[in-house]
Subunit: 318 residues, 2 copies
Amino acid sequence: MSRAAIAIHGGAGAIARAALSAEQEQHYLQALRDIVASGQTILAAGGSALDAVTEAVRLLEACPLFNAGKGSVFTHAGTHELDACIMDGITQDAGAVAGVSHIRHPILAARAVLEKSPHVLMIGAGAEQFAMDHGLEPVAADYFSTEARWQQLQRAQAIQQTLLDHDGAAQENAPLDNDRKLGTVGAVAIDSAGHLAAATSTGGMTNKQVGRVGDSPLPGAGCFSNGRVAVSCTGTGETFIRTQAAYDVAALMEYGGLTLPQAADRVIFEKIPALGGSGGLIAIDADGNIALPFNTEGMYRGYGWLGASPVVNIYRGS
Amino acid sequence: MSRAAIAIHGGAGAIARAALSAEQEQHYLQALRDIVASGQTILAAGGSALDAVTEAVRLLEACPLFNAGKGSVFTHAGTHELDACIMDGITQDAGAVAGVSHIRHPILAARAVLEKSPHVLMIGAGAEQFAMDHGLEPVAADYFSTEARWQQLQRAQAIQQTLLDHDGAAQENAPLDNDRKLGTVGAVAIDSAGHLAAATSTGGMTNKQVGRVGDSPLPGAGCFSNGRVAVSCTGTGETFIRTQAAYDVAALMEYGGLTLPQAADRVIFEKIPALGGSGGLIAIDADGNIALPFNTEGMYRGYGWLGASPVVNIYRGS
């Protein structure tokens, strides 16, 4: 019997060095809890896994705490370039956009590509035109900007490096270090009919070169679903592309006979570190099993089966 | 013992309905033969697999017969958008560009991303700026245009559909039907040290929407190499993305215990058709075995081990 459930993540990274108050931590945990609950509500009403992951990622994009949509990090040029992908486990069809700057919800643009286009991946101005043609909400490029992200860019440029990181609150108020955090959001779900879906969205890397695309919008790299498993990743994007991390979980299960936790652990604790990468993933299989491994100090994450309370966490060992 | 070799492809598709003269066919076969020989020369001189596939794809881009570089097809807007990817089996590192219009050799831009950037995939104007910053040759966008491709766009727009196709000579002079051909070029090689590499380049789909990106520039989809196998694909790009076709060959070998021919056949004759797709791939494993399966009527292809004459072909059964 499949069991309806949703899992989400808001990025992985290192624990902030500054001491946090319980209240500050609660701010993040509550956001995760609310978004898991929204997904559960959709599933409880008989909604599809595809609808549940779309809405969960849309809410993560709308929340400035996370590096996707509102609250996205800045490129080296002080601009925003957003990427998103969604994949339907029933058809193994996917929709994705990369390098968009004027679509309020990139995940809705990805969904439009999935449903209304023969294509899978659309980039830049062509992707934006497609989204506008299909009625998606345009925004000025500065809609995505927040003061905290701007300060993050200034710090990154001061130390002349690209930060594989994110976070929207002021630096000292985030549980995971904004300047050492791998910024992506994602959701995976299984619905009451036993169907799976996955979605991933990101604002990229602080201070990244204009035009760089990471794993988030690439089916098989940062997002994958078929009839067996749904996966969404967060981490050093280049490593997740080179290892085909999201699809690799599915391949290890289908060809290698591994269970979901075994396959997810193999990717996060062996394959990704072997190429020098770090990060985590969330995954749900066709039996409703959930895995949320990460090899960083923390990962914003949460999950909930139908009828159970959301479980949310940031650090290890819980 | 590994055995140095190179294999190339110039796209897969349906056989042209018009009868061809042996002379017309020879035009294509000779181009394939010359390019295989160029790769063999590099390998014979102790060159790396990475250098051999770079040069082979550069020559395929320079040849107007094939849909990559000079001779690329037109988008719906009458423009060109080129994509390329290269992957080094030693490091499993990759470089790729997508949606570029002003770089004479997209494969050289992909190689620059591989070697001179911490990133894997760069798109659009950012990718072009990166290439220019690294000394690559800029060209006006109409450099890529040929009369044959322009006529192909007019035919496609007349019948109001996207052609998953290509070809550079006049329609009636190509062995594979220009309007029903899957246009991509690629190369895979193993060098005398036993190292593998893969490269893929494309001009896209005739009459495609601006911003559409297919499998060619995506590591794991249209191009993949690790220490075990190198793969380059050509076909209905969206299907190759959804199935992670290039990486899937590697996964079937590593996790499923299949031989190279078994794995390559599984992808081309089972996985791709199961999602409604068509096309082919070329692959070389660490023992120097070569596979060139395709599920279309033909695929421009060639290969050669070190010291042996190039073998080239277009149709089935040879």
